[in-house]
């Protein structure tokens, strides 16, 4: 069944109110378990945009040409963009009700996606981090308008990300300001090879959605690439880093910017840092519980900390843990190699159980609807 504008907007109006309640409100409001969205492969290497309910039922698995990375949901329509992983030049707009591929979005000439994007709360605009390969490494945020007549995203300009190699971006609570992790790594053309490890300058930038810079902060180590982030309801920003210096160096792989305060390392134990193998992947914040969760796939380690006290709730082995997302009562975690897992945080003694989702091949991020 092809999707019409009338149908889509009808659904959109019905769920618009529910969407503001939280990431999982769209489906739980209809008595279903949350819908987990992710990029995934199969054993043969085919790439998919998938949606699975947390109870294991498959909603859809849509074949796509290129491997995707993160997923960003439209604020009230049952649509999500599966964003091409760098240096992909394609992203995929998908109807969450049946997996229909609504649009294969192509990047502009001399631009490629970096795997992350966000929809504006109005639902009319999408912002994606991109690389200007014509001026190698110049980070830009591409702006796309959702054409409500044709249900197509249309490129509508770009602004500077105020740094090199922008990766994940997210809205601050005002819904108008973007926080961006500029990883600092310059890559060229269609390559993933880092060209500037000795001269990296990663930064955490806050800017309004029109590109005006509000702040730009850094961490002491120039090779500590700021890549992933999550924003709490009160505006606290947590970032995850990937360090390109010596494997045995102890550097802050997690950092925090509380409202009105300077960007600084999040107080993680040295022994925990040593378990991460200088690589963090996905970060999620549970606003009700004031918890932050993070995956470290190279260290095969999953963590949950108290956002306010930094106390450790979970420090667990989990092979190639990938995406993490806040769900009712805790966190859902996918894996590139093993089984997916649910961590129940309803009490301070966190328990976990395996999820009945397909094993392995989940990419590093997940979205919830």
């Amino acid at each position: 069944m092809s999707l019409t504008r009338r149908q889509l907007l009808g659904v959109g109006a019905a769920v618009a109110g529910a969407a503001t309640l939280g990431g999982w409100a769209l489906w739980s409001g209809r008595g279903q378990s949350p819908l987990l969205l992710s990029a995934r492969n199969d054993d043969a290497g085919q790439h998919y945009a998938v949606g699975y309910f947390l109870d294991g039922r498959r909603a859809f698995a849509t074949p796509v040409a290129e491997r995707c990375h993160d997923v960003c949901r439209h604020p009230f329509l049952p649509l999500a963009l599966f964003v091409g992983r760098r240096p992909s030049r394609e992203s995929y707009l998908v109807d969450l009700r049946d997996g229909t591929l609504v649009q294969a979005l192509h990047s502009q000439s001399q631009r490629h996606f970096y795997g992350h994007a966000v929809f504006h709360r109005s639902g009319q605009w999408l912002y994606a981090t991109e690389n200007d390969t014509g001026e190698a490494g110049r980070g830009v945020v591409g702006r796309y308008r959702l054409d409500s007549q044709r249900l197509q995203l249309i490129h509508d300009g770009e602004v500077s990300s105020h740094g090199v190699g922008p990766h994940q971006l997210a809205w601050l609570p005002d819904g108008e300001s973007l926080v961006i992790g500029n990883g600092g790594i310059r890559t060229e053309g269609g390559s993933r090879e880092a060209m500037n490890l000795d001269t990296m300058a990663p930064s955490l930038v806050v800017m309004d959605r029109h590109g005006e810079r509000i702040s730009k902060e850094t961490l002491p180590q120039s090779q500590n690439s700021i890549r992933h982030l999550a924003v709490a309801a009160d505006g606290t920003v947590i970032t995850g880093q990937q360090y390109h210096g010596a494997p045995w160096d102890s550097v802050p792989l997690l950092a925090i910017k509380r409202p009105g305060e300077a960007y600084q390392p999040f107080p993680v134990a040295t022994s925990q840092l040593a378990m991460m193998k200088q690589y963090t992947a996905s970060i999620a914040i549970h606003n009700e519980k004031r918890l932050v969760a993070m995956t470290a796939p190279r260290g095969n380690r999953f963590f949950i900390w108290d956002l306010d006290s930094a106390a450790t709730l979970v420090d667990a082995a989990m092979p190639d843990c990938a995406g993490v997302g806040a769900v009712p009562g805790g966190f859902a975690v996918t894996s590139g190699q093993g089984k997916c897992r649910y961590f129940d945080c309803r009490s301070r003694e966190v328990t976990s159980r395996w999820l009945e989702l397909p094993d392995a091949w989940w990419d590093n991020h997940l979205g919830l609807a």
């Binding site: 492969n41 054993d43 990375h69 992983r85 760098r86 795997g115 990766h167 890549r227 990937q242 494997p247 045995w248 022994s271 040593a274 378990m275 690589y279 992947a281 796939p297 190279r298 260290g299 095969n300 380690r301 667990a316 082995a317 989990m318 092979p319 190639d320 990938a322 590139g336 190699q337 093993g338 089984k339 976990s352 395996w354 094993d359 392995a360 091949w361 989940w362 990419d363 590093n364």
Partner: protein, 340 residues
């Protein structure tokens, strides 16, 4: 009691009826843990030998022999280091390779210039670069150190490194054997790390395949594969002791020990034959190298022989990483090897 016997019998039957679980349990009990324990005992012997030489009770050749045996145990262990030793930056404390900027020599001398009579806490507080076997090898074999003339300068460091290695291996073996430790994690399912034996077997194979890939790097780097084909003899592992090839053979033995157990799970006779042949070919070619690796790479005439060995290692890696993994339905790597 009767209930307990029934339970144990049921569990044993369950294990026996699941060949993959049986192989995983065998690997843990008969290959992985013993390899860690052998490394631990070699470290104990190295500490004894170091003390004996430093007090004048043993010839240098005995210390060198103890070092070679420790290095060999560590090399054999590398494709088998599932769990604690591969976590928390522990393996960097054992060996520092590759050493692209000759940091071992520089930092060792700097440390001893700073602390004339080095204490254990001073060593523990120093960089991993000077805490492991590579620094020990530098002191023992590098002409710059001239060990026999400078026993007083270097003995505190040698003893400190040997003690550090023994402490580290005691800790790691402890983490294997403690309740809920690594041994239990690989023999009792489900547990906090593995949902079932298949996942644990996948974990073991991933480490083993990584070990074979490391062998390729240890051969390819001095050959100049990362340097536009220009040989880099001083990038050979253990070039100072001229034991690169012996170490590669020991690592191959460790990797093959996993394959020897996994072989029974493979129903494809051709695949079994191909992997067996690949191991034999790599072993034969390694054993046939007539000179230390650092000397071999310097002579262009040896390139065909080294290239042939590298190609065989590559073939072995592909057979396991692709064909064997697909046959067993085990996924070797995804985000952890190729993230973003």
């Amino acid at each position: 009691m009767q209930r307990l016997i029934v339970l144990i019998t049921t569990l044993m039957l369950a294990a026996c009826s699941n060949p993959r679980q049986e192989v995983t349990v065998q690997l843990a009990n008969q290959v992985l843990l013993p390899a860690h324990q052998q490394w631990q005992s070699r470290n104990a012997a190295l500490l004894d030998s170091t003390r004996a030489w430093c007090s004048g009770d043993q010839p240098l050749a005995s210390l060198e022999q103890a070092f070679h045996q420790t290095q060999s145990a560590w090399s054999r262990l590398q494709p088998l280091m599932v769990g604690p030793l591969s976590e928390g930056n522990r393996s960097w404390q054992v060996q520092f390779w590759p050493d692209k900027r000759n940091m071992v020599a520089r930092q060792t001398e700097d440390l001893l210039n700073e602390f004339a009579d080095l204490t254990q806490p001073q060593l523990e507080g120093a960089s991993v670069v000077v805490q492991g076997l590579t620094a020990f090898e530098y002191v023992l074999f590098d002409e710059q150190a001239a060990l026999t003339d400078n026993r007083g300068r270097y003995c505190p460091l040698l003893t400190g490194i040997a003690r550090h290695q023994l402490t580290l291996s005691n800790e790691v073996v402890g983490l294997w054997q403690q309740p809920d430790g690594m041994l239990e994690t690989l023999t009792s399912f489900p547990n906090g790390r593995y949902a079932n034996a298949d996942k644990a077997l996948g974990g073991i194979l991933r480490v083993q395949v990584t070990g074979v890939d490391t062998l390729k790097k240890k051969l390819g780097t001095p050959m100049g594969r990362l340097n536009s084909g220009v040989p880099q003899p001083y990038q050979a592992e253990a070039w100072r002791s001229r034991h690169s090839t012996e170490n590669l053979l020991a690592s191959l033995t460790g990797a093959q020990a996993v394959w020897e157990r996994v072989r029974s799970l493979v129903g494809d006779a051709k695949l079994v034959g191909d992997i067996d042949a690949a191991y034999k070919s790599v072993r034969d070619k390694l054993a046939a190298l007539p000179a230390p690796l650092m000397n071999m790479v310097e002579d262009k005439a040896n390139q065909p022989q080294l290239q042939s060995l590298y190609a065989d290692l590559d073939a072995l890696e592909n057979l396991q990483q692709t064909d064997l993994a697909r046959h067993l339905g085990i996924q070797i790597g995804f985000n952890a090897n190729d993230g973003d």
